[in-house]
């Protein structure tokens, strides 16, 4: 057989296997797989460099299915590469099988979970950035994209960033099969619509018939020799290609074929071609030197320091100590203080501009390559990338996020800039760690701890300067809390800015003879259940929680969850009305979360107890 004949045969096999594996659970996306089968057949036969026996080989190419619903095709590719047996292939979508409905890194050759459209390409940009700018390795990043997902703005963030950074190691394969889930896409088979947009952004483009294996071969050849810009292969394909009763028909999305046997017959029956995918040449990534960790320290009781500034200081120290730490920011690095890292360690810093989805996707992509990414922007603007964070948890990603300018305490800028839902959002991310330091020394210690924390960790920082209340040598384990004041009449629980208001309230209360316990709940998740329970016992269940956040899902509910079953007299001070502009003090007071309101709440709890 000639090469093209072999490729065509392999394409048919990938289609047949996509149909077969979807037939078992009677679900999945065989038609969306069939359109891209020839594109994958040529890729694995001739262009992909991958050592399936050694997925950790740093020289391996990356193959990301941004259209994750084409998982039957991906798994059929794994079978064709000899990585998955036919028996395993037929466990598709079964409980306990690693061949899930959409790909996840439960499979060793899958870098990241996809299935929420529009994420694979931006993450591919992160992987390609690591290869090009950090590791200086020749691996390529191949991303199979659907046409429906090109409506996602995140794809265009990726397209723009890829060109801006000259990522000629990134090849997007656009499977333009015309049909979305419920009908035609915006542009149908108007390949030029896509080509124009990619070219306007500075990409090279190659338009082909995605079922002409020789054209595919030429396109890959050209793509792998092009330099200076990423390449998009704009392939006209047919959804359900090769099976007359589903081919190019609407209403066939996301369904197993009704007559699988007939379809397989039409495709020429089962095959068992195994491709010996070429392994990459051995290569070692560039690594960066580290050194001893010298975290910044701040004299206790000295000048007040914003925790966002301490974040910047600590990030720089961590970057100097650890060569695997990288940083990126959404064009606000002079507010988050990531700029100190950017200036001192420019080789490991990436400006992601005002594109928060790409910011997080870049972090996810870099951690695929083993880097420890710290991504920062205003905490309010991390919400822009919430779906990326959700998916990153499925991707088993370890990344460190910092959100600055939390809460009403930012002052004059007004509510659009105030994160008031970030704790709720990040607590509800699987396996996440949520930190909210109150003091510069604590911030520094926690920044260092984040780099050693698995999963997604999020640190909330404060805009304004706050007193330094801890000694530099104090420890702040993740999952801990600090009893900052001891007392046996009432407990005040705060974190970040509200801890300082709670301390002021405790001073007032002390002057009135009320013995007040104050807890710094810097670790919002995991939360220190023992310290909270001790406080319940010590202060007769009287607890005031105060937070610069909406009442839902934040510190108050974290405390209630930790103390479920305890007998409490519980007061929850949180932001309940929409704030406007004003000074931080005015806004804390208006929200009822300043020292005065805290003291009032404590008095009422204590007084109520006295009266009863």
């Amino acid at each position: 057989m000639t090469e093209p004949e072999q490729w065509r045969e392999l394409g048919q096999q990938l289609r047949v296997d996509s149909i077969r594996c979807s037939a078992v659970p009677k679900s999945g996306h065989p038609t969306s797989s069939m359109s891209a089968a020839d594109l994958m057949a040529v890729l694995i036969s001739k262009y992909l460099r991958y050592d399936f026996g050694k997925p950790e080989n740093p020289a391996n190419d990356h193959l990301i299915f941004s259209k994750g619903h084409a998982s039957p095709l991906l798994y059929s590719v794994y079978k064709a590469c000899g990585a998955v047996t036919d028996e395993e292939l037929l466990t598709f979508r079964k409980f306990g099988s690693r061949l899930e409905g959409h790909p996840t890194p439960v499979i060793p050759w899958v870098d990241v979970a996809t299935g929420s459209l529009g994420q694979g390409l931006p993450i591919g940009v992160g992987v390609a950035l690591a290869g090009k700018k950090l590791e200086q390795l020749p691996y390529r990043v191949w991303v199979l994209c659907g046409d429906s997902e090109l409506a996602e703005g995140s794809m265009w963030e990726a397209v723009e960033h890829a060109a801006f950074y000259g990522l000629d190691n990134l090849i997007a394969i656009l499977d333009i099969n015309r049909l979305g889930q419920r009908g035609e896409t915006m542009h149908g088979w108007d390949l030029a619509a896509y080509t124009r947009r990619f070219e306007a952004n500075g990409w090279r483009t190659i338009e082909i018939d995605g079922h002409d294996v020789e054209a595919i071969d030429r396109a890959y050849e050209e793509a792998t020799t092009a330099e200076g810009a990423p390449v998009a292969i704009v392939a006209r394909t047919i959804k359900g290609k090769g099976v007359s009763f589903v081919e190019n028909k609407p209403g066939q999305h996301g369904k197993a074929l009704e007559n699988a046997e007939e379809a397989i017959r039409e495709l020429g029956g089962e095959r068992n071609i195994v491709v010996d995918v070429e392994k990459p040449d051995a290569a070692e990534p560039r690594r960066f030197e580290g050194g001893p960790l010298e975290l910044p320290t701040y004299p206790r009781g000295g000048d007040a320091v914003a925790t966002r500034k301490a974040y910047g200081d600590a990030l720089l120290a961590l970057g100097r100590a650890r060569g695997d730490v990288v940083a990126m920011d959404g064009e606000v690095s002079n507010s988050t203080y990531a700029e100190d890292f950017a200036e001192a360690l420019p080789d490991r810093y990436f400006e992601m501009y005002i594109a928060e989805q790409q910011l997080i996707a870049a972090a996810v992509g870099m951690q695929v390559r083993g880097w420890k990414p710290f991504a920062s922007t205003f905490a309010a603007f991390h919400t822009r990338a919430y779906d990326f964070v959700r998916m990153a948890a499925i991707s088993q990603a370890t990344m460190m996020l910092c959100g600055s300018h939390a809460g009403v305490s930012i002052g004059e800028d007004g509510p659009s800039q105030m994160a008031l839902e970030d704790l709720a959002a990040f607590r509800a991310v699987h396996g996440s760690t949520v930190l909210y330091p109150s003091d510069a020394n604590q911030t520094a210690k926690l920044v260092a701890a984040m780099a050693d924390t698995e999963g997604i960790s999020f640190m909330r920082t404060t805009r304004g300067n706050t007193p330094v209340i801890y000694d530099p040598d104090e420890d702040f384990p993740i999952g801990g809390a600090k009893v900052v004041r001891d007392g046996d009449e009432v407990t005040l629980v705060g974190a970040g800015i509200t801890l300082h208001e709670a301390l002021k309230a405790a001073d007032t209360l002390a002057s009135e003879g009320v013995e007040t316990r104050v807890i710094d709940l810097y670790s919002v998740k995991p939360v220190d259940v023992r310290t909270l329970r001790e406080a319940v016992d010590a202060t007769q269940g009287r607890i005031v929680v105060v937070e610069d956040h909406w009442p839902e899902g934040g510190i108050g509910e974290a405390v209630l969850s930790a103390l479920a079953g305890e007998q409490l007299q519980f007061v929850h001070l949180a932001v309940r009305d929409m704030p406007g502009s004003g000074t931080p003090a005015e806004l804390l007071a208006a929200a009822g979360i300043d020292a005065e309101h805290i003291a009032d709440a404590a008095r009422q709890l204590v007084g109520a107890a006295v009266a009863s």
Copy 2:
């Protein structure tokens, strides 16, 4: 004075006033205002049609500052239009002033809050869609965009949708002042970079010097006569224009000018020009006929029906009854069942393709015009637009969101498609309503109630069919809960899919002689505190909450918040490990939220009580 001379004078006034108002709070963005001053001067002098005395006039143009941080310019424009006094202008950013740091609809001429970049243009698309497709009015939508925000993918969703829908009533004014917050933008003054991208998407473009008032005049003239496509005016401008010591200088973003008096002198001093903005011709919007509301009904105990299907049925019924209801979907309308509305009422349905940010932005834009938008996609994919929802709350928007395919109970598709954080996310939206029906009749009633609910309401629907347990004539007020089973030993609280598991558990427990109360907490926010408290009293504080959601921020914590201070024996069943694929039953069991686990938890509570 000639017209151009007047425009130039007005431009200087807008600059002076931007500097003056920022000087009082010593914060704000005068330099970002100064770059666009001439663009606004010509606009309000000759092209804007707006009745400032009657902001509710349906024929008014819309002026949206997508670059919301240029609020000093916007407020200076209001002064120049005679809408705001000089005295009020100088209250900028003061506590209690409606002239907040970023614009919000506290001001009657502001349609929506901006300040999270990249949102004004997508919302403008919604406003323009309403004018063009629904109301058939000649108003124009003018959107002032910054260059930094053109890095946001959401802008490109807007650009693509505007062209796709032929919105020639939309004019984007791009203020290309080269400098972002911390340095140069990706493209600096490369106007062609922007022009190429807009043209590739099908827009008309006009490149000008944004300080040449005659060129601006010609551009607006051309833009207002063009037909068939939206227009982008790509204006090269200078940040801080007109003041030598800040003009085109980095490090001048987001700061009041240090020497305001000198700057004002250089700009020729204060002026008090008042522009008589031309009022629009009177015009009445097209409205759609309604009729009696005939909600779908489902026989109790009859065929099981998915709540997502009931949503679709009810939405259609509501659309037939109310001419102000419109619907839109993120290209999954055959899954969410918005397709029934789409087919029957195509004039009021908008396909937003796989672009969730634009989906929500379109809803926000349409409610600006008084429509009642219902926007649907998978609940998991609403997270893509979380920042838009957050901002919509600041915009005082009333919109109805439906998220289908919630939780592990979707089955084989796997975690990327399972919303497990949506309740936490939507509860933490200011003023939101969060609904999670368990039955088709309940769903229908709640869909109708949503249209009369102020603020952002979110309904979570279930993929699989569930039993019809309520009579069609039963009422389900928002903020209520149903006691579905009475009992005095233990309370089970569920909603949606888990209510049915709780009912099965109650059957088992009943057969064992355990008197079990079951509460359907269909209104997750606001929550029915009274019904929950009654259950505590009735069942000795024994509560099992079961939810198809992560443990954080969902139903469990909503219940704990409602019952803070009560003595509880509380068990919280929620999804704690990352799910994979499997059948719904397998996944509910694996997550420990099926009937068997619920019954076990109840037995332990009851048994524990017996033993103690």
